[in-house]
Symmetry: C2
């Protein structure tokens, strides 16, 4: 069983979703030199991929980084570049990021910059990476001043999402990753958002998982195709993310990205509702309940410096994505401080 | 007097050559936020540019780095990124690299990666930067393992070459920078290569300087337009550069880039001559004499590790650009060690 989602960027590629893809990768990727990058948490998957390419007679270089957001730094990126250089990796090599979002973002930035760019493939091992990071071409690392402040747009040549890796995910990670799928549904496939809460779980039939993943990826792919370099409508994908990123920064990354996104969606739902726009506050709250987490959130004043430093903050000051109508996102630049505080109170209540 | 060379890349732009351009830049660059990057050697030019934008009501951030190749590092790049971030520079900003090749390469890589890319303009203050670095979109920094091993392709929105800055260049730097112009002539405008030796000097009439610069830039622009991402014919621009880069590395950058290129051209001329191809050995030697420098070059064995690590070294091993016929470069992969040694002996004699 294979689902394919075509991605229409300047160099089109395909996201392939299915079971047992890891061992098949040498059939899909022809490069004679292969770099397999991953973190220690997903080492078994990297080993399976490396073994498949070695068996196929390819020259394989493996590079491992520590798991977690702390690896999304210039220091780690530099170390990986040096390892590739010392191993004599050439411009003909393909780099495969086997892992979650951090490995994908870091690996993509390595691929974008090593020898001014080598071929890049994503082999996502988390829901988040499958739905979010593997479409859009965004790569990068963090600065002390904020997340993803350094990076490049670098499209993968292909994305291979092997469903078998999901069986090994901890349930809470599986659920948190689902937040991006939920967000995609809210943006352009509302039925997906509601269906997720009913029938989505890690032990679901592969064809159900593949179908939902493909729908979420298709939403993102359509947005990205319309605006590859994020000059306009691509900002819609930040639904819930302005506050999510600020929460992560203010809470020093002690909160999972998916949970932060879920909270961010409650915030944006509350903002929209107070303006009389599309009301999805109940669904957003239901999703937080479904995640089964609670947090005592910091006061809004602690988030504000990070909101102001958000790279989407353009000449208009703070920008939020809100749903004016069902499946109809817009960018809003005139949210007042009073509106923000009210929406944040609603969020604090839901989170507690 | 203005010369304009159109550059046909995916986002076309123009190289403007003329006198008094620095003060006019606000008429050409509309961004309300301006970053002026330069090194301490060219501070007066940066100040003139910054003053012009400030007078035009723009928000100007200036960043200075130390002069020289030592600033083309990940550490300096990281420091510049942090300065921009701390200054709150947004995605709407334009970064202007006011300086020579190092500032252009470093500044381009900053622009390519800050917030995943901001607008970039080149304001070259050396011949080398005017002819070489400002066309092609190559940006990057060095690794301890070699030059330009990290970077990105990032096209400028415009290049403004103000001839008045050339009057302040030391004569030897002016001459050395001419090496790239000479190389461009050899590749596709042989009359330019011969004319240079006769009539090119820093006190020449502006229209002569502008004409020669425009011809050299046009050669490069044509090559780059045919092969933006250096997958094929763009490698021709490396005429003389395989050995030039190896010389620079083996001599720990105690040799000027332009001189290294002149030596590299003698080497490639000798290689081609020994095969009975186009013979420009006399012209290449004449150019070295014209530069008026001598060096005791290291033995060839000290260059070889760097030649092998050259990022153009593909699956074919060592690659050299040779002129098979006049203005007809080809890539040669089968140069023997005996041929290399013979050509290097010829070069050592010329250099001594």
């Amino acid at each position: 069983m294979r689902k394919r989602v075509p991605i229409s960027v300047s160099q089109p590629y395909t996201v392939v979703i299915g079971t047992g893809l890891l061992a098949e990768l040498p059939d899909h990727i022809a490069n004679t030199e292969i770099v397999v990058l991953g973190d220690t948490n997903t080492a078994p998957f990297q080993e399976r991929v490396a073994a498949a390419f070695t068996a196929a007679g390819r020259r394989v270089t493996t590079v491992q980084v520590a798991p977690g957001e702390d690896s999304k730094t210039i220091a780690t990126w530099e170390r990986v570049l040096l390892e590739l250089s010392h191993a004599g990796v050439s411009r003909q090599a393909a780099l495969l990021a086997v892992g979650g979002g951090v490995v994908g973002d870091l690996g993509g930035f390595v691929a974008a910059t090593y020898l001014r760019g080598i071929a890049f493939y994503q082999v996502p091992t988390s829901i988040l990476a499958m739905v979010d990071s593997s479409v859009g071409g965004k790569t990068g690392v963090n600065l002390p001043t904020g997340k993803n402040l350094v990076g490049a747009f670098w499209q993968p040549r292909g994305v291979y999402a092997d469903l078998t890796v999901l069986h090994t995910l901890p349930e809470h990670e599986f659920q948190a990753g689902t937040a991006e799928l939920f967000k995609a549904g809210l943006l352009a496939d509302y039925d997906l958002a509601t269906a997720l809460l009913r029938t989505w779980h890690s032990q679901a039939e592969p064809h159900v998982l593949a179908d939902y993943l493909a729908r979420g990826i298709a939403v993102k792919a359509n947005v990205v195709a319309a605006d590859t370099f994020e000059t306009g409508s691509r900002a819609y994908l930040n639904l819930g993310h302005t506050v999510a990123h600020a929460l992560e920064a203010a809470m020093q990354h002690t909160i999972a990205h998916g949970v932060a996104v879920a909270y961010g969606l409650v915030f944006s739902a509350a903002l929209g509702k107070s303006r009389g726009w599309f009301d999805y506050t109940d669904l957003a709250k239901e999703f937080v309940s479904w995640l089964g987490v609670t947090h005592t959130l910091p006061p809004f004043t602690e988030l504000e410096p990070f909101i102001d430093r958000d790279k989407k903050a353009g000449p208009h000051g703070r920008t939020y994505v809100l749903l004016q109508e069902k499946e109809h996102p817009i960018l809003v630049h005139d949210v007042t401080h009073a509106e923000e505080l009210l929406a944040y109170e609603a969020l604090q209540e839901v989170a507690s």
